[in-house]
Amino acid sequence: MKTLVTINGKSIELRFDPDETLLHTLRNHGYTEVKSGCEEGECGACLILLNGKAVNSCLIFTATLKNDNILTAAGIGTLHEPHIIQQAFVDCGAVQCGFCTPGMVIAGYALLQDNPDPSETEIRKALSGNLCRCTGYVKIVEAVQEASKRLRGEGS
């Protein structure tokens, strides 16, 4: 099957099997920053923005998409032009193995779009769909706080 979508600002024709999840379609098309950790909607490693909303791509059938807008962590910022939130993850020591990080970055980015000045509790709640086994979350929460400050022009 085929469908036309916009991924990270580019128009892309996706080819996929009828029962394929968006996670697999994206990875098959080279968007390997979208990670597969559980395929049951529990770990958040495959989190993307679908039409501006954070969703687990493992829970969506690609066949349901048409002209939708997808943003992945690599669409938010790249190694050469990182987004403020990605830089904040680096600066705060929030990246250990990094496997959950693209999903965490999406969760944090989505939160800050809706709520530029979240409380710590709001941050923890917003990240509660994403599992990390390395960090204990302390520095991830700090990174989102730091990104919030920087995006509001207060940070370092």
């Binding site: 099997d17 029962d19 990875r27 080279g30 390997t32 920053e33 979208v34 990670k35 597969s36 950790g37 559980c38 395929e39 049951e40 529990e42 770990c43 490693a45 992945t72 962590a73 690599a74 938010i76 910022g77 790249t78 190694l79 990182p82 990605q86 830089q87 993850f89 680096v90 600066d91 020591g93 990246v95 250990q96 193995c97 990094g98 496997f99 959950c100 990080t101 693209p102 970055v105 941050i123 923890r124 709640k125 990240l127 509660s128 769909g129 994403n130 599992l131 990390c132 086994r133 390395c134 960090t135 204990g136 979350y137 302390v138 520095k139 991830i140 929460v141």
Partner: protein, 776 residues
Amino acid sequence: MSKTYTSIGKAEKKIDALALATGSRRFVDDFELKDCLHCKLIYSPHAFADIIKIDESPALAMDGVVDVLSYKNTPQILHTSAGQGFPEPSPYDQYLFDKVVRFAGDRVAMVVAESPAIAETAAKKVKIAYKLRKALFDPERAMDADAPKLHGKECYTPIGAAYDPQRNLAAEVDLGFGDLKEGEEAADIVIDETYKAHYGSHCAIEPHSVKTYFDDEGRLVILASTQVPFHVRRIVARVCEFPLAKIRVIKPRIGGGFGGKQEVLLEPLAALVSIRHKRPARLVLSREEVFRNSRTRHPVRVRLRSGVKKDGTITFLEMDSLLNSGAYGSHALTVLSNCGSKVLPLLNKIENMHFLGRSVYTNLPVGGAYRGYGATQGYFALNQHLDILCRRLDIDLPEYIKKHHIREGETSKIFEALGEGKTGVQQFVNSCKLDECIDICTREIGWYGKRDKKIRSGDKVRGVGLAVAMQGSGIPLVDMAAASMKMNEDGSFNLDIGATDIGTGSDTVLAQIAAEVLNVDLDAMIVLSSDTDRTPFDVGAYASSTTYISGRAVRKCAEKILEQIIGVAAEMLETSSDKLKLSHAGVKDPASGKRIGYPEICQYAMYSANQFQIQAVASEFVEESPPPFIAQAVEVEVDTVTGAVQVLKLVSAVDCGQAINPKLAEGQIEGAAVNGISYAMTEEYIFSGNGRMINSSFKNYKIPTAADLPEMKTVVVPSHEPSGPFGAKSVGEIGINCPMPAIANAIYDAVGVRLYEAPFTPEKVYRAIRKQQEVQ
């Protein structure tokens, strides 16, 4: 410690962090392989059975199915999946595929197909007939004469350790000193309690993954999500009967390990597919398979018997540990050993001590390496035991530990008596800031205002608990690490290390050590880890060894480079080496005031005169394993009506020597502590009657999210280990050891019930409270 460093002790940014945060650094499954075959394993639904028949034909008849592997067509070589040094201290009791299955989840066969979907469908079509055997689930009964025997006489231990499959005995340790009877006679009271540590899953968010292919020279490349690339190469060569020289193992980024990837489980299977079909192969486990079919934390039942005088002196201590190894003996001896060797030296003043450890087979999931590695299980017992002791004698626990723990300049007979699979090494503790760690914990948790106060608010009561631990820094006389460096003409350096960064940040830490020696910025270091073709040998990421052992190798290697740099500079400046001083990325002659930068030095060595490549290799082999120390304190709130326990705050104070990178060190402690909290509170394997794990998903095996956690405070205490690279010791494992006993102690402090087995679920706590009320 007064020395000022340029890179050591600085919270340098992790060198691969930005590439990971933007998704450009790749993990195994992110590498695209053309024309790749996909593998799907088939597992036993039975706990113990003979395979009578495997009928592959319905699967092979499907379009796109290429092969079905089983015992019929794979090499039958006894080995261990434990990725340890050679010869491995674990028994050789596994085949890649066997005619017998020994736990519900044991592998039976593997389908190879053109797509993952075809492989999955075909896996359901392979017909397998079993003849069931009576299964053994209770480790306490494993050594009974009439217990089912899991393994035959053909199994053996390559190191000749105690091993008896006829008694289901996978490993045994029996040692001691002094006289227990004498100790018992001198005691005023005897405390005899039994504690049980349970199964746990590592839950690295990246599942176990491997991809294999032949490169354009016909060599077999294994892209592996592993902690032990060199052990993978050696074990694959042996069990696949394929020349080691034709194997190249590459470790890209690894999505967490925690011990789970110190196991060579998948690599030989994918390699066999590539060898048989001359095509790339992919084998990636689902989350359910990671839970059910990979490796776990060994459950250990620990009985501690001790005699104590009224003044608190322990007159004897007897530890009897029964480790449930599950169906195979992976790490059965070494985890067992560490349950004693990492725990008992803490109380080094005890004159009469005995450790009996036994690892036994059962028809349950297989244990393996898991952060803490037996120490976690042992400290769960010891820390509760000390809490019980102090309460019986009305002594303050923190002060008691401070009085009795091992100190700088002291040793323990256990160090020498008990190593990993063999006798240990005598060593003295040269750095120990445990007193400071304890003081930080009691202050931060408010110990003296809260202990025994049972602060109540409605139905909820608060309590505080403390626990302490030590670990090691690598395995003395066993572990080896090496580093290779060369200099480039812009003053940058390639640092090639077999040390295996699995997300810990060891690439960064080791680069900081080299940068410190050479007095350059961190970005002058180009790090490659690990590639068995390109990087020198290193045992891998386990046993808390990397910072200490690999770090010493890197330091030594960088010092050799520095010597060459200064030699060239001396030639250029027409002076002698001993007159020169190092300046930032350059060399100075204080006499003439001349300075030359590294780029000029390297360019001179490469192009100008007496040309040579400035390069060096160094290896390190250590005779000691300096223990890091930790104290962790918690405050909990127990709902006396529902039994629900909430951990409100956790404080960790650690002595890991000089933290090479304090931020990364904190990250290790925080991550380990959170794993320790959830192991204590929610994580458990729930089995059906036939030994099948029934909660094999993140939905039903709960690990915490950011919203579930208490306030966390982590303090890295200033310390300096004389034998460590720039004073460093290890930090990777220790943080997981204390949350579980500290929480148990805090629950007791709140509601007066002692929980000998975790997780501390509301049901368990509720029942314990009710039982206590009935007794009263």
